[in-house]
């Protein structure tokens, strides 16, 4: 039996690749600000650190464990926000959250989100939105604790 098309969209190749490769996965020592987040349903965790240069995000690093969706989302986030300003990252974050919570009614646009549009399928799975959000919530929390914030 082959998976349904919805499932195939949710777990498209790009997601599985990102989950496997895990861009930005690594030690976060020395990365400040940091945030540790837990998904209480499954116990999944992420520690995400940001290296700032002025108000610009130089690099993001993270480690933890979680499902393919959460790992892919962390990986995609890493590439997406590197080099952006804090304000830009917050904008991405707000839009990402909005789309994820839209129950399938909104979509990420490719111009802004690039490969991360592969996560569009998640918003239809309410129970999985938290997975996709985990890294983003960690980023938000980290930025909230940035020296100037």
């Amino acid at each position: 039996m082959t998976p349904s098309s919805d499932f195939a969209t949710l777990y498209q190749e790009l997601i599985l690749d990102h989950a496997g490769a895990g861009e930005g996965r690594g030690e976060t020592t020395g990365f400040q600000p940091q945030s540790h987040q837990v998904n209480p349903t499954c116990g999944d965790e992420i520690t995400l650190g940001v290296r700032l240069i002025g108000d610009r995000i130089d690099e993001v690093r993270w480690h933890g464990h979680g499902c393919a969706i959460s790992q892919a989302s962390a990986s995609l986030l890493t590439g997406l926000v590197a080099g952006s300003s804090i304000a830009e990252a917050r904008e991405l974050l707000a839009r990402f959250r909005e789309v994820m919570r839209s129950r399938g009614t909104l979509e990420l646009d490719e111009a802004t989100f690039g490969d991360a549009v592969a996560l569009n399928g998640v918003s239809r799975y309410v129970a999985r939105v938290k997975c996709a959000m985990l890294a983003w919530v960690a980023l938000e929390d980290a930025l909230d604790h940035a020296p100037d914030a």
Partner: protein, 426 residues
């Protein structure tokens, strides 16, 4: 021990008849007929339970133990008859059977009552304090762990635990070292909600008796799956939830030995649990009313009695035989799938949890859900056990009286396909 329990299997025709009693089984999920393998989280309800509740609500609903009008008198009778039925189902007396919201509330009731005893002259006999020990195990549901952590924090007592081995089995070798003269309470699950295997109840109870500790049995996963008798088990307390026993939500049971309940101060206070109240103080009714403050969930009690009648109609020996057969089928089928690690060894009820190497439980669960198969993924409210097993999450499939071999096979096939699908990630 499981092998001592006489069980009989249900025939295919029996199960087919049972399935007709559960309306939800006709539902379709993602284009497939629902295969509900999450009964250990919460069981679906047979029509008999739904009808009993509705019938009560549209004909006889009233508050109990408070009113003198006809409806109230009839509701009170029905409420107490239900108590007698549920008590009888677990081998208890009605006046040893206390209604609670669920098993969690029942364990909290014991734990808070014990700390209230510690600050009361009248009920001081059960007081706990520094130097006293409370023992639980490393494989408990959080509901049978955190209330004891909190009790220890409130009273100054120490919380200890019996560890488990790499399979999640209790390390009986450590029992005498952990449970000793200072132990006041030994709390453990009859059937683990992760491994699905039985605790060695008689050994644990014998040790508790030898040192004079109270035994609190978390029977959440046992009562729906096994013939269950509090006297035969010789425990001091047993708790379970109605919603896992094919009954309504919002109703649970605390069994307590009569003389213990009598020695315990109340937990929740309010109406219907007092004799005389002044602005300064209150005198409390005997158990079970002492522990049943406020308006009781009467229709849920009526529904739970209907659930118990329903299970009696099938026969708990057959319920147990059916569950055991399904549990074995699931465990042995899973063991054959490359990369699957089944958690727990030995005879089990109809419940099995597993890990698929390199694939997160959520992803496996999503794959199964795509085929209409509902399983539980996560830590199942047992983080310490998962941590001990080197996992953060697992997939759990749990069967019910309405589960068929066919459904189990569909589940096994789906897990095998999931293993293949996620191959690239491993």
């Amino acid at each position: 021990m499981p092998s001592e329990i006489e069980t009989v299997a249900l025939s295919e025709a029996d199960v087919a008849a049972i399935r007709a009693d559960f309306p939800i089984l006709a539902e379709r999920v993602n284009g497939h007929r629902l295969v509900y393998l999450d009964s250990a989280a919460t069981a679906q309800k047979p029509e008999a339970v739904l009808d009993a509740e509705r019938e009560f609500l549209i004909r006889r609903h009233a508050a109990v133990h408070r009113g003198a009008h006809t409806l109230a008198a009839e509701a009170t009778e029905e409420f107490e008859d239900a108590r007698a039925a549920v008590a009888d189902f677990i081998g208890a007396r009605a006046d040893e059977t206390v209604w609670t919201t669920n098993a969690t509330a029942a364990i909290n009731l014991i734990a808070y009552s014990l700390s209230n005893a510690s600050s009361s002259a009248e009920f001081g006999r059960l007081a706990l304090g520094p130097g006293d020990e409370i023992v639980t195990t490393e494989r408990e549901h959080h509901a049978n762990l955190i209330p004891w952590q909190q009790l220890a924090q409130r009273t100054g007592a120490t919380l200890r635990h019996l560890p488990v081995d790499d399979d999640g089995a209790l390390l009986l070798d450590e029992l005498d070292g952990v449970v000793g003269e200072r132990t006041r309470v030994l709390a453990f699950a009859h059937v683990s909600n992760v491994t699905g295997t039985l605790a060695p109840v008689s050994e644990l109870v014998a040790r508790a008796r030898a040192v004079g500790a109270l035994v609190v049995l978390d029977a959440c996963q046992a009562v729906p799956q096994l013939p269950f008798d509090v006297r035969a088990l010789d425990v001091d307390f047993a708790v379970f939830s109605g919603h896992k026993l094919y009954g309504p939500g919002g109703i649970g049971v605390l069994y307590g030995r009569r003389e213990l309940l009598e020695a315990m101060p109340p937990f929740l206070t309010g109406g219907s649990m007092i004799t005389t109240v002044t602005m300064e103080r209150a005198e409390f009714l005997p158990p079970p009313q002492r522990f049943e403050a406020g308006t009781q969930p009467v229709s849920q009690v009526v529904g739970l009695a209907a659930a118990v009648r329903y299970l009696r109609g099938i026969g708990m020996d057959r319920v147990a035989g059916h569950g055991r057969g399904l549990g074995e089928r699931m465990a042995s089928g899973l063991a054959e799938i490359p990369g699957v690690r089944v958690i727990g060894n030995g005879e089990r009820v109809g419940l099995v949890a597993f890990d698929l190497r390199g694939v997160h439980a959520h992803d496996v669960g999503q794959f199964l859900d795509d085929r209409g198969i509902a399983v539980r993924v996560g830590h199942h409210c047992a983080q310490p056990l998962h941590r001990r097993l080197g996992l953060t999450a697992s997939v759990r499939a749990s069967a019910a009286v309405h589960t068929t071999d066919c459904e189990v096979d569909a589940f096994l096939a789906a897990v095998a396909d999931a293993a293949e699908f996620f191959e690239r990630m491993r």
